[in-house]
């Protein structure tokens, strides 16, 4: 028997080797840019010019990081990314929280308090997911001007909330569809009203989808460049715009190590959110699939 099963075992072993080999290859392929960025940011400029792109830094130091953070030139001023980093934080956090909250209320209304035409409304909201950024630029600029919040953090928050609503509503609506509406009926009979039911019954069930919404919105809003470059200016610009300016500043030598450090700094928050809440993201996206 043992002899008989040998060819099968060998076959399986070869299969495993191929699978793992491929996985390692793909990993290396995807991690290579990160590796180059990190090592380059730790090298001195001389070493970069002389050495191999893939070699490890001989004398790792954080000089480039310090410079990228506080003294690199982004256009005419040379104060690093620090200010812009906090710019981004200051509009991303409210934009993410507000769009998530409104999305939750929208989803709640569209599933638990249906009204005539609510499905149509949902359908129209969904179109919002497919509207390209470029299309809304001009109308949005006029709107912001009319509202008197052009060129302000508030304006940028508004733009991102409006643009994000379609997505957050979709998330919450699809999640709430899986919650039996008998829950809401029971609460109504218990005497609870619209907001009380939302706060006490629905929100406590929403943790997975809130995480999904926050991760999605955070990455979208943080990484946005177009709205940032159009609807803000000067020292109020987000970090993505500042990063572009930093890399494109053409005075003096090209400091690859500073560029790399700056790029990593700009990407860190989204990475951080993924690492912290990533597993909830996958869980939340598939939450509706299993009956809870």
């Amino acid at each position: 028997m043992a002899e008989l099963s040998q060819p099968r075992d060998t076959g399986r072993l070869i299969g495993r080797v191929i699978v793992y080999g491929l996985l390692v290859l793909v990993c290396v392929y995807y991690l290579m840019p990160l590796f180059v960025m990190v090592t380059t940011s730790l090298k001195s400029l001389d070493e970069i010019r002389a050495g191999n792109l893939l070699s490890l830094p001989q004398d790792p130091n954080l000089d480039a990081w310090g410079k990228a953070w506080s003294s690199a030139c982004t256009g005419i001023q040379c104060e690093g990314l620090a200010g812009f980093f906090w710019n981004s934080v200051s509009f991303v956090v409210p934009a993410v929280l507000i769009s998530t909250l409104i999305g939750a209320v929208n989803g709640y209304v569209l599933t638990m308090w249906r009204f005539r035409g609510s499905d149509l409304l949902f359908g129209m909201l969904m179109i919002g997911c497919f509207i390209p950024f470029q299309v809304v630029l001009l109308p949005m600029a006029r709107t912001l001007g009319a509202m008197g919040i052009a060129n302000s953090t508030t304006g940028l928050v508004f733009v991102h909330v409006v643009y994000g609503l379609a997505f957050t509503t979709l998330f919450f609506r699809n999640y709430y569809v899986t919650i039996p509406d008998e829950l809401v009926k029971a609460a109504k009979i218990d005497g609870a009203g619209f907001w009380l039911i939302f706060r006490r019954i629905i929100l406590p069930l929403s943790a997975p989808i809130i995480v999904v919404s926050i991760i999605w919105q955070f990455t979208q809003v943080w990484n946005d460049f177009l709205f940032g470059v159009v609807f803000s200016s000067g020292d109020r610009q987000p970090i993505t715009v500042a990063l572009n300016n930093l890399v494109n500043t053409s005075t003096g030598v090209k400091e690859y190590n500073v560029d790399m450090a700056a790029a990593i700094i700009a990407a860190l928050p989204t990475l951080f959110v993924y690492v912290v809440a990533g597993k909830y993201f996958v869980r939340g996206l598939t939450a509706g699939a299993v009956k809870g």
Binding site: A186, I189, D190, R200, I201, P204
Partner: protein, 370 residues
């Protein structure tokens, strides 16, 4: 003034009439069953009593108040749902006290009520658990506890047992009945299960296609069905419907039954006169399986007892009884026979028909003739 009265209630949805003029009335402490096949409108009617659905026309009264325009919370009702609808994020204790808290019952009072309810339903040890940690039967109890805690004037049950397995369903059915007897509450109970309807109800409303087919006590419904649908829906195994011609017999009228070479005329003892105008025409002769049994000597002789020797085509032993199928007028007729007297398929068996509760229907309108 009844505890609940429903007067000519109608409901239309997008042009189709779902409820076509419902009239029901029950007294305080009665248990009303709404029973019928799915889509008959029973759940819609319950929703309308609860205030979760609006009435197109007509009037619903709870006690002496017209509640048509009251929101659910002002109707003084509590409801137990098919899915139990326990709040997943709250413990059992919080589930039970949620409604009290909203109604601004004091903390100490809430505590007292929760303890009392938990004691009544024997769920004291579950109070600090979440619904997800409970079994189906326990969830069912908690859902009832939540309803009891509020001490409403009307309880609504929406197919509360249909998510339980067969054994638990019977246990909970008994518990609901005990609870109802002990607390004397007024209950409206929706089910599609005719056994639940018979065992639990003080009054039963049999519904079909948005209409009440018959409203009465379980006994009335079972013994005196108003039409073919009610007769067939209530009872398991269901009533035998045998197409038969009306003939005059011994000064009265009866139905002719044929099986193989044998032919009998059974007198319609229960309602002789009403068959007069049907002489020579075909009616549907209805007789329940338990009214066809093995021959019992002591019962013979009475006018309503007839016997016939019929060939058995199939037997179904259920344990307490054996169901015996015999062909009559081209139909398989089910008879309920004591297992000791049942014969094997292929043999002939002497069967005794008790005609005192036989019923007759108009085959066209399906209404009761006699």
């Amino acid at each position: 003034m009844g505890a609940l009265s429903i007067r000519d209630v109608r409901k239309s949805y997008q042009g189709t009439e779902i409820l076509k003029g419902i009239n029901l009335e029950i007294e305080k402490g009665e248990l009303l069953i709404l029973v019928g096949p799915s889509g008959c409108g029973k759940s819609t009617l319950l929703s309308m009593i609860a205030g979760l659905d609006t009435v197109s026309s007509g009037e619903i009264r709870i006690g002496d108040r017209v509640v048509n325009n009251l929101s659910p919370k002002d109707r003084d009702i509590a409801m137990v749902f098919q899915s139990y609808a326990l709040y997943p994020s709250m413990t059992v204790r919080e589930n039970i006290s949620f409604g009290l808290e909203i109604r601004k019952v004091g903390k100490a009072e809430q505590q007292k009520i929760v303890e009392r309810v938990a004691h009544t339903l024997q769920i004291g040890h579950l109070l600090d658990r979440k619904p997800s940690q409970l079994s189906g039967g326990q969830r069912q109890r908690v859902a009832m506890g939540r309803a009891i805690a509020r001490d409403p004037s009307l309880f609504l049950f929406d197919e509360p047992l249909s998510n339980l397995d067969a054994k638990l369903r019977v246990e909970m059915r008994v518990e609901i009945k005990q609870l109802h007897q002990r607390m004397g509450t007024t209950i409206v109970y929706v089910t599609h299960d005719q056994i639940e309807a018979m065992t639990l109800g003080d009054k039963i409303a049999v519904m079909k296609a948005g209409e009440v087919q018959q409203f009465g006590t379980p006994r009335q419904i079972y013994d005196n069905p108003a039409n073919l649908f009610v007769a067939g829906f209530m009872g398991s195994p269901s009533m035998n419907f045998i197409p038969a011609r009306v003939e005059s017999v011994g000064g009265g009228y009866g139905v002719r039954l044929e099986s193989g070479a044998n032919s009998y005329v059974f007198p319609a003892v229960s309602a002789n006169g009403k068959l007069k105008s049907w002489e020579g025409k075909e009616v549907v002769f209805g007789i329940r399986p338990e009214q066809i049994t093995h021959r019992v000597e002591s019962s013979l002789g009475a006018e309503h007892i007839q016997t016939a020797s019929l060939p058995i085509s199939l037997t179904e032993p259920t344990g307490p009884d054996t169901l015996v199928l015999v062909p009559v007028n081209g139909r398989e007729v089910t008879c309920r026979v004591h297992p000791a007297h049942a014969r094997a398929p292929g043999e002939n068996m002497e069967l005794m028909f008790d005609l005192s509760k036989a019923v007759f229907f108009d085959p066209a309108s399906e209404l009761r003739i006699a």
